[in-house]
Assembly symmetry: C2
Homo-oligomer: 432 residues x 2
C-alpha cells in the first residue's frame, strides 16, 4: 500500500509518525490529512537520505528553494553550494530546475546532497534531450516525456512539477484575454510551443492516466505547475489563470481516486487585496489540496528586492491557507541568484511562513517568539542569537556593533532614569 | 491663519496646492482632509528648503527614516551621509533622533541637508542638557523641556514627537499588566524614569496646553509618541497600549480644537491577525488622525532581517489605513544601522507602502506597475530599470548578470518553442 492507501485504511506509517513528531501534532492528525488529501508527505521511498516533510493544513508552513543549471552560468559545484546554503538557511525542500548542461548528473548530485525532499520539472530534461536527439525540442515525442518522468521518479525525486492543466482551450483563452503578458511560465512556454508546433493537446493532460500510473508506482507527489501563472498584478485572477485552476481541480480529484498525492502550484504576481481570494479559490476548486505559491509578489516594481516583495505576499497567503512557499530571490526578473541571494531568499520566505504560523495560532511558533522576547527583556544576547531565525547573521551583527555605542549615555549621569524605571517595572537594565 | 484654520475657512493654501499636485488629487480634497484632521501637512513655515509632504487618508502612503547621534558611534558626518542616502532612496521624511553628542549642531545639519520634512524627539536633548547642567537628567525642570520643544520648533522642525499620553496611570497599568517586557520605548523609558524619580505626572500631559501653544505658534505638527509601544507580539494590544491610545484620542481632540495638526505613532510588534484591529482602533479612538506605525514587526525572531519583517507588517497596516510607515532597518534590536542598512530600510518600507497603495486602488500606483509590466513584456531593460523602485540596484544586478546566461538554450535548436509561442500569443521573444 502507498501512503494514501495506508492512510485511508487507518494505518499510521513511519512517515506519518515522523511528520507528527516534527510538527507536534498527533500521528492520527497526519493520517487523516493524508487520507483527505489536505496533507501531502514529500518523500520518495527509494531515497534513503531524506527526512519526510509534511505539507498541508494544520502543519507548519514550509518553504522551498529552487536551484539548477541554466545557460552557461555556474555549474554543478556552484549549484550544489547553493543547495547546501539553502539547507543551512532552513529550507524545507529543494527544487532542481536545471534546463541545460548535464541535467542528469546535476539531479544525481541534488539527490545525494539534499537531506530535504527534492522536486524537479521533468519537461526541461525531456525537451533538452529531444533537442539533442532530434535537432529541436518541438520534435519531442510523448514517450520521451513520460520516459524522463519515470526516470526522475525512479531516481528518487520526491515531487514532480507537471503542467497537467495547461490545455489548448486555456492557451486560446490566454490568446484572447488581453493580458499585459500572456505567458511567463518558462516550462509552460516550452510546453505550449510544443503543443502549437505539433497541433496537439498537452500530453500531460491527454495522457494524465500515464502520469498517475508513474506517480502511483513510485509513490511520488505530483505538484501541478501553473502554465497560466500571471506575470504581473494586472493579469492576476483572470480567465486563463482561473480556468487552469478549474481544470486542475478536476485532476486533483482524479489523482486522489488513483491514490496519488497531489498539491497545486500558484502565483506569482497577486495584489494584496486578491491574495485571500486566490487562496480561497484554490482551496475550493482543488478540494483542499495543499497550495504551493510562488512568492507571491505584491508589486511588479521591486526589481532587486523581490525577496522582500515575496515575503509580504507569502505571509498573507500562508495566513489565508497556502501551506508551501516557493522562495523568490533578489535576483528574480533579472538573473540567476548567487549563493547569498539564495540564503537570503530562504530566510525571507521563512519569516513570511513563520509570521503566518503565528497568525494561525501554531503553538510552537508562538513559543519561539516568546522565548526570544524573554531573552531580549533579560538582555541575554547569547540566547537571543541562538533563537534568531538566522543565528549566524544575528551573531555577526551583534559583534560588528561598536562597543562604544553601548558604553556612553549622555543623559543620565549620577541618577540613571533607565535604572529607576527598571527597578520600578521589573525590567532588566537596558543600556541607555 | 495657520494651516488648519485656513482649511476650515475654506482657503486653499500654497502647501495644499503643492500636496495636491504631488498626489494627483484636487486641492479641495487636501483642504477638506486638513480641515477634518485626516490629513496633516508636514512643513514648518520657517524652513525654506523643505517641500511640504501630506500624510493622511486618500494620499500615497509615506515612509520616514530615522538617523541621529547615539553613544560614541559615527558622528555628524556619518549621520548626514545616512540622511542623503535615505533621501536618495526615496524617504518622505527624516527623523533626527540624536540622544548624545552635539545634538543641536546635528539638528542644524539635518535641517540644512534634508529637502524632506524633519521630525525630532525634543525630550532627548532636554534630558541630555539637564544631565550636563544638573548632573542628572532626572533633575530636568519642566521649563527645560518646553524650552527645547520651542527651540526645535523655532529652528524649523516640521514635526515633533512627544509622549503626551504616557500618564502615571498608564505606568501603573504597565507595572501590573504582566507584560513580557513592560517598556521598550527609549524616550518613554527616560520620561517615566523622570516621572518616578520626581513623583510627578508627565509634564507633556499635565501641561499639554503649553505644548499646544508652541505647536500653534510655529504651526508645527505634533506626532504623539507611544511610550507603551509593545516590545513583543505577546504584549500587543494589551491594557497599557490601548489605554495610552484612549488618552491620545482625548489629546487629538484638544489639539484640533487648538488648531494644531496632529498624528499618532503606533507599534511596534503586532501579529498579523491583530494588524487590522490595531489600525481600526486608532482610527476610531483618535478620530481619524493619521497613523504613523513603526514597522510593524510581525514576528520577534527576525534579528538581522527586521526590514523584511517590517515590510510585511507595514504593507498590511497601510492597506488597513495606516498612512505613514517609520522604517525599521536590518540593524534593529542589535545596533545602529550603517548607510546600506538605511538605504535598504527605506526601500523595504517603500515596497510595503506601495503594495498597500496598490491594494487601496491608488491610480498612480497602479499605473506605475502597469508601465513596468509592459516594459518587462517587451524585454525593454532600459525602461524596466528606470521604472524599478531602486533603479541603481536594478541596473547593477542586470549588469552583473552573466551574458552567458542569456546566450545558450539547450533545448530548442532549430525550432524554438519560445519563438513559436511568442508568435502565437503576441509576446516579445524571451530568451530561453
Amino acid at each position: 500500500m502507498n501512503l494514501i492507501e495506508s492512510a485511508r485504511a487507518g494505518l499510521i506509517t513511519p512517515e506519518m509518525e515522523q511528520v507528527a513528531v516534527q510538527e507536534g501534532v498527533t500521528p492520527e492528525f497526519v493520517r487523516q490529512g493524508v487520507a483527505d488529501g489536505t496533507i501531502v508527505i514529500l518523500r520518495n521511498a527509494r531515497r534513503q537520505n531524506v527526512t519526510p516533510v509534511g505539507v498541508g493544513k494544520g502543519l507548519r508552513t514550509k518553504v522551498s528553494a529552487s536551484v539548477g543549471l541554466y545557460g552557461e552560468t555556474g555549474g554543478i559545484d556552484v549549484e550544489v553550494a547553493k543547495i547546501k546554503a539553502a539547507v543551512e538557511a532552513g529550507t524545507d525542500a529543494i527544487m532542481d530546475l536545471s534546463v541545460s548542461g548535464d541535467i542528469e548528473a546535476m539531479l544525481a548530485e541534488t539527490l545525494a546532497v539534499s537531506p530535504k525532499p527534492v522536486g524537479t520539472l521533468p519537461l526541461y530534461q525531456a525537451m533538452a534531450e529531444a533537442g539533442r536527439k532530434y535537432g529541436s525540442s518541438v520534435n519531442m515525442r510523448d514517450e520521451d516525456l513520460f520516459d524522463v518522468i519515470e526516470r526522475h521518479a525512479a531516481a528518487g525525486v520526491d515531487f514532480l512539477a507537471l503542467h497537467c492543466g495547461t490545455t489548448m482551450n486555456i492557451v486560446e483563452r490566454a490568446r484572447n484575454e488581453g493580458r499585459i503578458d500572456p505567458l511567463v511560465s518558462y516550462g509552460g512556454s516550452h510546453l505550449i510551443g510544443w503543443m502549437l508546433a505539433n497541433r496537439r493537446e498537452n500530453p500531460l493532460y491527454e495522457h494524465f492516466d500515464r502520469v498517475l500510473a508513474i506517480a502511483r508506482k513510485y509513490d511520488v507527489t505530483i505538484s501541478f505547475a501553473d502554465g497560466m501563472r500571471p506575470g504581473c498584478l494586472a493579469d492576476s485572477l483572470d480567465g486563463p489563470q482561473v480556468e487552469e485552476l478549474v481544470v486542475l481541480g478536476e485532476l486533483v480529484r482524479r489523482a486522489r481516486e488513483a491514490g496519488v498525492q497531489v498539491m497545486v502550484k500558484g502565483p506569482g504576481h497577486v495584489p494584496l487585496q486578491q491574495l485571500k481570494a486566490t487562496v480561497v479559490l484554490e482551496k475550493s476548486l482543488c478540494h483542499g489540496a495543499p497550495y504551493f505559491v510562488f512568492g507571491p509578489l505584491v508589486t511588479d516594481i521591486a526589481i532587486g528586492y523581490d525577496h522582500i516583495n515575496a515575503a509580504i505576499g507569502g505571509a498573507l497567503s500562508a495566513w489565508a491557507g497556502a501551506e508551501f512557499l516557493c522562495y523568490v530571490t533578489a535576483a528574480e526578473h533579472v538573473g540567476i541568484p548567487d549563493i547569498d541571494q539564495v540564503r537570503e531568499g530562504v530566510i525571507a520566505a521563512r519569516i513570511a511562513a513563520h509570521a503566518a504560523d503565528l497568525a494561525n495560532g501554531l503553538t510552537c511558533a508562538r513559543e519561539w517568539d516568546r522565548e526570544l522576547s524573554r531573552a531580549r527583556k533579560e538582555l541575554d544576547w547569547k540566547r537571543q542569537i541562538a533563537l534568531a531565525i538566522d543565528p549566524e547573521r544575528a551573531g555577526r551583527l551583534r559583534e560588528e556593533r561598536s562597543d562604544a555605542a553601548a558604553a556612553g549615555c549622555a543623559m543620565c549621569g549620577k541618577y540613571c532614569a533607565m535604572e529607576i524605571v527598571s527597578r520600578y517595572l521589573g525590567t532588566a537594565r537596558h543600556t541607555c
